[in-house]
């Protein structure tokens, strides 16, 4: 299903989606972030390059309470499970790289061991994507990692900017429902609209982007470069913060803690929070030994997880090329440069004895 939406009528479409809580990128305190929007806002536009944080937190929030625990009056332990039951939520303006990121989260929390909390949130979420006519940032590199500026993965609807209007394309049955609900606002798309959208797509694909060199060879080369001294050198300026992982659309490592509110009587909650492989205690053993004691090993882990281990497990890169970790890194650590340098060094090495 393809329709046309007049740019000024985005608010009207949102108003027609009364069953949904709608989130869209809005600028507040100098930041683009997904915030609830009310229907009918005439001023509603999608003017963002990309949001500071991806929409990851909608299905995988930074803090998730699994259950609470306390003591009954007769001293017995009691657990109260808290599986979330959110109403339908719709996220507008998701860039294709972030849509791609959602498919990775779906893999991790849905395939081998479905995560009840993630599933409960994900089941009532829908995403309306916005294709990138030109890269929103100079550090975009989606085309190097299997993505596309017009990618449709993970999205229910894709909107394509045609200057004064959007071409709106349903990608899933949920997407069709959303567009049917907007019947009064969305109009029939003509052949010329489709032709224009196709032109935009080709132009976007032709737009130069920064690039990971020879991506198909990267996993193998990273494997060969595991022991490289480059890791430590490239991590030299690293300060060990969690920006790169917390802004990443695909990083999904977490920690589980019991937050004890009171010791007597005992009460508290078991909580899952995001964790980061860049933190000093991420791999800290109870013995005090830390197998990834230095920043080089942690950088290697972050990069290898995305370009090697995840590839080995799922056949795709875990990185979607959004460029957030490059833009926000306080000291300029650049995942493209890191991958390229380590891979190039490994490629130049003589092959191991076979």
């Amino acid at each position: 299903m393809e329709r046309i939406l007049d740019k000024g009528r985005l608010g009207a479409w949102v108003a027609a989606l009364a069953d949904w809580t709608v989130l869209a990128p809005a600028m507040q305190d100098g930041l683009w972030a997904y915030r609830p929007v009310a229907g009918g806002e005439a001023s509603l536009t999608l003017g963002h390059p990309n949001t500071v944080q991806p929409p990851k937190g909608q299905s995988f929030p930074q803090r998730e309470v699994f259950f609470t625990f306390d003591e009954t009056p007769d001293g017995q332990p009691r657990l109260t499970p808290l599986v979330p039951r959110p109403g339908p939520r719709l996220v507008f303006g998701v860039r294709p790289c972030d849509g791609q990121g959602l498919t990775h989260l779906d893999q991790v929390f849905g395939e081998e061991a479905p995560d009840a909390y993630y599933q409960a949130r994900r089941g009532t979420l829908a995403y309306v994507g916005l294709a990138c006519n030109s890269p929103p940032s100079r550090h975009c590199f989606c085309t190097s990692v299997g993505g596309s500026p017009f990618g449709e993965a993970g999205l229910d609807v894709l909107m394509i900017d045609l200057s004064d209007r959007y071409l709106v394309r349903a990608l899933t049955p949920v997407g069709e429902t959303l567009m049917t609900a907007g019947q009064g606002v969305l109009t029939e798309a003509g052949a010329d609209d489709r032709a224009e959208a196709q032109q935009r797509r080709l132009a976007a694909l032709a737009h130069p982007q920064r690039a990971v060199a020879a991506p198909q060879a990267v996993p193998e080369r990273l494997k060969a470069g595991f022991g490289s001294a480059l890791w430590e050198r490239l991590a030299q300026p690293c300060i060990g913060c969690g920006i790169c992982t917390f802004l990443c659309p695909t990083c999904h490592c977490f920690d589980i803690n019991d937050e004890v509110a009171s010791q007597s009587p005992v009460c508290g909650s078991r909580v899952r929070t995001w964790d980061s492989c860049q933190f000093p205690d991420f791999t800290m053993h109870t013995s005090g030994h830390n197998p990834r004691a230095d920043l080089g090993a942690r950088l290697r882990q972050r990069v290898s997880h995305k370009f090697l281990y995840y590839f080995e497990n799922h056949g795709v890169f875990q990185c979607t090329g959004c460029g957030r970790c490059i833009i926000a890194c306080p000291v300029g650590i650049d995942i493209i440069a890191v991958v390229n340098q380590v891979a190039a060094e490994a490629a130049a090495m003589p092959p191991a004895d076979s």
């Binding site: 309470v65 609470t68 306390d70 937050e259 509110a261 009460c267 508290g268 909650s269």
Partner: protein, 145 residues
């Protein structure tokens, strides 16, 4: 907070009392049978200078409506200068709490000697009276599970 005026809000106070003076002062108030509100939970510490800002923040975060730190009068510190150091450090705590918008009445310091049972009772009485109209402190308090 819509409180019934007939049953005023009973604030919860965490009082860090130095072992040598203020804690003894509170004992004296007790043995002298001075009547004062029972809103304060005393925590005896070795010295007012040993009170880390972390204790104060944690008390507020665990739901205290007011926090009191009380030590020996200047010059009387068992460790000679602990209360001088406390005064400087906790002045900054007070300023910072006010800076982020916590009501200034919620954090208090006093010097109460072992002989000042009546003063201790007065300090608590005044504190409770000042905290009552503010109602519960819900700014720094964490979520209850």
């Amino acid at each position: 907070m819509a409180e019934d005026p007939k049953t005023p809000y009973e604030p919860r106070i965490v009082a860090f009392l130095c072992k040598w003076c203020s804690s003894a002062g509170s004992d004296l108030a007790g043995v002298s049978r001075i009547q004062y509100p029972a809103n304060a939970t005393p925590i005896t510490v070795p010295c007012s200078g040993s009170v880390s800002p972390q204790y104060i923040l944690t008390a507020f975060r665990k739901g205290a409506d007011g926090v009191l730190v009380s030590g020996c009068h200047l010059g009387d510190c068992h460790y000679l200068e602990g209360n001088y150091l406390a005064r400087r450090k906790l002045f900054l705590v007070k300023e910072l709490l006010e800076f982020i918008g916590l009501e200034p009445e919620r954090f208090r310091m006093s010097w109460v000697s072992a002989a000042e049972g009546a003063k201790f009772a007065q300090v608590i009485t005044d504190f409770v009276a000042d905290l009552r109209p503010l109602g519960p402190q819900d700014k720094l308090q964490g979520q209850r599970p």
